[in-house]
């Protein structure tokens, strides 16, 4: 009997301790919010792509250096909001409060998505803080291709329009470069085939594409050593940058090939439109200093990104030029693709009708339910509904910004109580589980992985 009460006592003490920690943490987070100079809390850099991708890698290199220098006294945190051709992340920052705590790291895809009609906003909906690096773009063919320069490729596209297969998603920056090139050769046209990233490379080697646009970093990593058979290697035939790049001095620029098309891609830092000047200045200066540091330079060199920096008026002018270059081109879908959604809706509807008509083979007649069964089934669906209601209330609470540390233990506790039918022998343990678990989860995510929980 005393062992029993001892156990209860221990459980009570543990519960109390966890409760205290939770309260202490909550007070801590609330009390640190005093208005003063910028920045007062960690600054989020939103990356509109998955962790591990090109933009993410770039942002994290900057973040590492920003935090090491400790220039601002507050941490920079990278948050990934991928999806929707990068519009999920960009929309979030566009709609964020203009206080400098949410920044977007994105390249010129932000111009392309507007012109392709994916979203109705472009660079004008943001305050550009800085250009923090530029990427060299190349036209690449298989090494045994008969097209040895841009002119040969385009003349072929002019002679036999729609026969040269080029890998580019409609509305992507690569697509716009091609349109720009085609504009210089009246009547020329490419057959655009959607193929992104690594697939573009396999298709190129497999002879399913004649050409594709790659970044310098991609080209350097995909290129084989020069002694591999030409059919297994790739070759850059044009550099769209201002001048030849030291990594590949043998590749002539488009200007040298007497073409007007010039293109590059660049990473920019964007803030919400109404961000005040003094905050924008502080941020621009911080990014400028970071780009100067030798560590960042070294890392960027590995990725073949040039640490070009622009800010203020210079940056605005540069962006205006870039937007204009994009605007002169139009997106047009050529190959009529079947309307897939209609097809699938049709098939689903037909199958649904079929399922309804052909009731499957007569099923075994279920045994007549006994009264006790009926009582249980009523009780159990009540229980299911209760728990579902708790779950929905919990998620709604999180949605309305009730701290994770309060909502989570409460929901676990209530759900546990309903499932255990409020057995008083278990409520202590359920309480401990709820508090301990939510504390541990919060620790792991915010401290270790630096991911913000709701």
């Amino acid at each position: 009997m005393s062992a029993q009460s001892n156990k209860l006592k221990i459980q009570g003490v543990v519960l109390l301790a966890l409760l205290l920690i939770t309260v202490w943490r909550l007070i801590n987070t609330i009390s640190t919010n005093q208005p003063n100079q910028f920045p007062q809390k960690p600054i989020q850099i939103v990356v509109p792509y998955l962790a591990g991708g090109g933009t993410d890698t770039f942002a994290r290199i900057l973040q590492k250096s920003l935090n090491r220098e400790g220039g601002l006294g507050e941490e920079f945190v990278v948050t990934n909001k991928d999806g929707g051709s990068a519009t999920i992340g960009s929309r979030q920052v566009k709609d964020a409060p203009p206080d400098g705590y949410q920044l977007l790291c994105h390249h010129e895809g932000i111009i392309a998505t507007q012109l392709a009609g994916v979203v109705d906003y472009g660079p004008e909906a943001f305050r550009p803080i800085a250009q923090t690096g530029s990427i060299v773009l190349l036209m690449v063919v298989r090494a045994d291709s008969k097209y040895r320069n841009l002119n040969e490729l385009l003349e072929a596209a002019q002679k036999n329009p729609n026969t040269i297969r080029v890998g580019a998603n409609q509305g992507s920056p690569a697509y716009f470069i091609c349109k720009q090139l085609l504009g210089e050769f009246p009547g020329a046209d490419f057959n655009f085939i959607s193929a992104g990233g690594a697939k573009r490379y396999t298709y190129l080697l497999g002879g399913k594409l004649e050409a594709g646009i790659f970044s310098l970093a991609e080209y350097v990593s995909f290129r084989n050593s020069s002694d591999t058979p030409a059919a297994d290697n790739i070759l850059a035939i044009g550099n769209f940058g201002d001048k030849r790049h030291p990594t590949i001095p043998e590749v002539a620029t488009s200007t040298e090939q007497n073409l007007k098309t010039r293109a590059e891609n660049a990473y920019y830092i964007w803030a919400p439109k109404d961000t005040p000047d003094h905050i924008a200045d502080i941020l621009a200066r911080t990014f400028h200093d970071t780009l100067q540091s030798p560590e960042v330079n070294q890392e960027l060199q590995k990725l073949s990104i040039d640490p070009t920096f622009r800010s203020g008026e210079d940056l605005r002018e540069h962006l205006a030029v870039r937007v204009k270059a994009f605007q002169e081109l139009s997106v047009d879908a050529k190959t009529e693709l079947p309307n897939f959604p209609i097809w699938i809706i049709g098939i689903v509807a037909i199958l649904l009708v079929a399922v309804l008509i052909f009731k499957t083979e007569p099923e075994a007649v279920p045994e007549a339910p006994t009264t006790s069964d009926r009582i249980y089934s009523k009780k159990s669906s009540m229980l299911g509904a209760t728990c579902l209601a708790i779950l929905i209330a919990y998620v709604a609470a999180l949605q309305f910004k009730i701290p994770f540390g309060i909502a989570t233990p409460l929901s676990i506790f209530l759900m546990g109580l309903s499932i255990s039918k409020a057995k008083h022998t278990q409520w202590l343990i359920i309480g401990i589980i709820g508090l301990g678990f939510s504390l541990a989860l919060e620790m792991v995510f915010t401290q270790l992985f630096s991911v913000a929980l709701p």
Partner: protein, 492 residues
């Protein structure tokens, strides 16, 4: 090669492998948390570390997580990863029949064998095999995906019609958002959050975990019919290897070859292997009721895809799955240039990756075997403690992938949809496979049609594409014909 082995054999190397694999197994076993998420989140932590150790840790997590998904699939009918959906078909019924340890034991044996067989290919044939993946054109991919869809329809439930309905419903619900080929938004009804469509993770968690939890909660009100847990331990005998030998090797080969193809991954691997095992079995009707062959086929194949998918990664720098894409990012961050030249430029790193794959598979077997008793106890933890926690994991997992509450609501809605579909006897596995494969099929069909100028005939004239379609027809026809033949014999 020696250098890589020496570095792995140091205490740090071994501890990293053990730690990574254990972490992977447990995270993979928790519905709502996936290996992809863990690897993406761990990556920034390795920035400062030695690149070889960093890759060791990440790959150990990968191997652990794919294997760990089997645990919750078998014990709770909640696949920890999409790759273990097929494991629920036979693993869960077997655990319900009172043999959870045997089910897990078979799964572990199959996982290790699959991992080791695909590892042999990874070690010896990485480069020549990777070359083969470039032979695949868009129509070939499309036919391969269609084959997998037809297969899942034939194995997922009793009625092919219902399975097909479920599969196409999955494809339909994968359509909202931005169309891959044209970049236009569609079926979003003006909801901007839908621009990105429904994400796989919340859909998967909703369909399987939330649905199952609600079901368990409802069941918990009824008087508990405690299934006796036979404590025969692993109960693996030498004869098991003999009985399942052919199945093990065949499923591993299927998994390896399918793993090599970029973007296809572990899901199709396990579906195909399971389907082949069933069509060639003497007792196909036992599949789905707790059949040993089913567990073996599914688990051998999904682990074999890891070795398979690593082949294009190390040989050509092409990611075979989402996880591999993150691993590729890790290589770049640590200053390597993934691609065909990786072998020449940093052989020590390539061999580190290859041998980590081997050691992590062995470590995974050890860890799972040691913890199998504890794991089987999962089924005995009072529901009042277990279910709220899993549900919280589901909420946090759905949220943390892209940091938005919309995904959590998606998860709950799909949980209810799953509950509804199952109550109408419509199987869920085809739904999720359709959801995963629909966009891949569409992307490749679009690319193919753009290339051929809208001409459909290459689907039947390209040899590889035709071969996949024929295999699909064959695998469909064999069980049907055999049943007819049996009926005819029993009548005469």
């Amino acid at each position: 090669m020696q250098e890589a082995l020496l570095q792995l054999a140091t205490p740090t190397g071994l501890i990293l492998i053990l730690f990574g694999t254990t972490l992977g197994v447990f995270v993979g076993a928790i519905p709502g948390l996936t290996g992809t998420m863990l690897i993406a989140l761990t990556l920034p932590l390795t920035f400062g570390a030695d690149p070889q150790y960093a890759m060791t840790l990440l790959i150990s997590i990968y191997v652990g997580a794919i294997s760990g998904g089997m645990i919750s699939a078998t014990l709770l009918r909640m696949p920890g990863t999409p790759a273990s959906i097929v494991t629920t078909f036979d693993g869960y019924p077997m655990a319900q029949n009172g043999q959870p340890e045997r089910a897990l034991g078979l799964g572990i044996m199959a996982s290790v064998t699959g991992g080791l067989i695909s590892w042999c290919f990874l070690l010896t044939l990485a480069q020549p095999i990777a070359r083969y993946s470039k032979e695949f054109g868009p129509f070939d991919y499309f036919s391969l995906v269609m084959m997998a869809l037809v297969l899942i329809a034939t194995i997922g439930g009793k009625s092919i019609l219902r399975s097909l309905f479920s599969g196409f419903l999955g494809i339909l619900l994968a359509m909202p958002g931005i169309a891959v080929a044209t970049g236009e938004t569609r079926l979003t009804f003006g909801i901007t959050e839908l621009n990105d469509g429904f994400q796989l993770l919340p859909v998967l968690i909703g369909m399987f975990a939330v649905n199952q939890i609600l079901r368990d909660i409802i069941d918990s009100a009824k008087p508990q019919s405690t299934t006796p847990i036979a404590t025969q331990g692993l109960a693996l005998k030498i004869s098991d290897f003999k009985n399942h030998g052919l199945n093990l090797i065949r499923s591993s080969l299927v998994g390896t070859w399918i793993g090599i193809l970029p973007g296809i991954g572990a899901n199709i691997g396990s579906v195909t292997a399971y389907s082949v095992a069933r069509s060639t079995s003497r007792n196909p009707e036992k599949f789905g009721t707790g059949c040993e062959d089913g567990i073996v086929a599914a688990e051998a194949a999904n682990n074999a895809t890891i070795g398979g998918a690593l082949i294009p990664l190390v040989a050509m720098g092409i990611p075979g799955s989402v996880v591999e894409a993150v691993l590729l990012g890790a290589l770049v961050i640590h200053g390597f240039q993934p691609g065909p030249r990786l072998f020449e430029q940093s052989p020590e790193l390539v061999y580190t990756i290859i041998f980590t794959c081997l050691f992590a598979n062995l470590a995974m077997a050890g860890i799972m075997c040691c913890s199998i008793r504890t794991l089987a106890w999962l089924t005995k933890i009072p529901r009042a403690f277990l279910l709220p926690i899993i549900l919280t994991f589901c909420v946090v997992g759905s949220f943390a992938m892209s940091n938005r509450m919309f995904d959590v609501w998606v998860m709950i809605s799909f949980g209810l949809l799953g509950l509804f579909l199952e109550s109408k006897k419509i199987p869920l596995a085809p739904f999720v496979i359709g959801f995963v494969l629909g966009p891949i099929a569409e992307e490749n069909l679009s690319a193919g049609l753009m290339g051929s100028g809208g001409d459909w005939t290459p689907i039947f004239t390209e040899p590889k594409s035709l071969a996949f379609l024929l295999i699909a027809v064959l695998l469909l026809a064999i069980p049907i014909c055999r049943n007819r033949y049996r009926d005819w014999r029993s009548q005469s």
